[in-house]
Amino acid sequence: MAVARRFLLVVLLCTGALAQENPQLEDRVKDLAHELRCLVCQNQTIADSNAPLALDLRNQIREQLAAGSSDREVIDYMVARYGDFVLYRPPFKATTLALWLGPFLLLALGAFLFWRRVARRPRQEPSLSEAERAQAAKLLE
């Protein structure tokens, strides 16, 4: 079994090396792989991950691009299987409104509360007693 695994590894490395012969294709594969989440190690893209599934999915992308699919078609293929979660940048749609707009709403709310607090504060003249005025005048002389 260990021998078989090693053999498989060599084959994979060789096919990887062959694939390098088409640098433009490799660039597109890399770009797309950076847009897709690895579902095994969820905080990595499939470009960064070394999980076997990430490798499979990278091969899948390469195969599809080589067969003439557009970037959009490859992304749709992944979303159809793994859902929006596979997109490293979440799409802007009804279910993700809170995600995209929430921070701005909170910022606006904070700014409003701050403004109200500042605006409301009565502008009061500093009130000093006669004695204090005299003391201040003396210090300023």
Binding site: M1, A4, V40, Q42, D56, R81, G83, L113
Partner: protein, 175 residues
Amino acid sequence: MRPYIIIGIFAALVGLLAVGLTLNPREVPSPLIGKPAPAFELPLLHEPERKFSQKDMLGTVWILNVWASWCPPCLAEHPIVTDLARSGVAPVVGLNYKDAREDALPWLKRNGDPYKLSVYDQAGRIGIDYGVYGVPETYVIDRKGVIRYKHIGPLTPEVAAKKIRPLIGELDGGG
């Protein structure tokens, strides 16, 4: 600001984070629920010359269980899969995922083979079509070949008793 407002905001945040902690980020909702099970035709694990397709199960409510001999959680859930299959609630088809025959067959011999049959997806291509990312995974597929339920990770007795059995009962009864 009045203290109760601050306490209120604090409590809301704590509540939000507490709920967040109980969610399982590994459970990615599958877009395949309610969709036809992706088509495949794969050789059987036991008889490489024979093929099996998801179409062969049309008309039956069935369970598709993705497993591999290299996957410890598969071993952990094996008694539950066995129990489901033996009880006759529904036929269980195994999808042997990215495995080698010389490992998979002895694994079944050692641990018992509850599957009606297992198909051999050595390259994991069908796994990708089914959105498999964490073996084991279990699907319930209805008579029309539509995926009705997916469980990611090892089955537990609770999931089998509270989700899978009632769902299959419902699908069998309701047609």
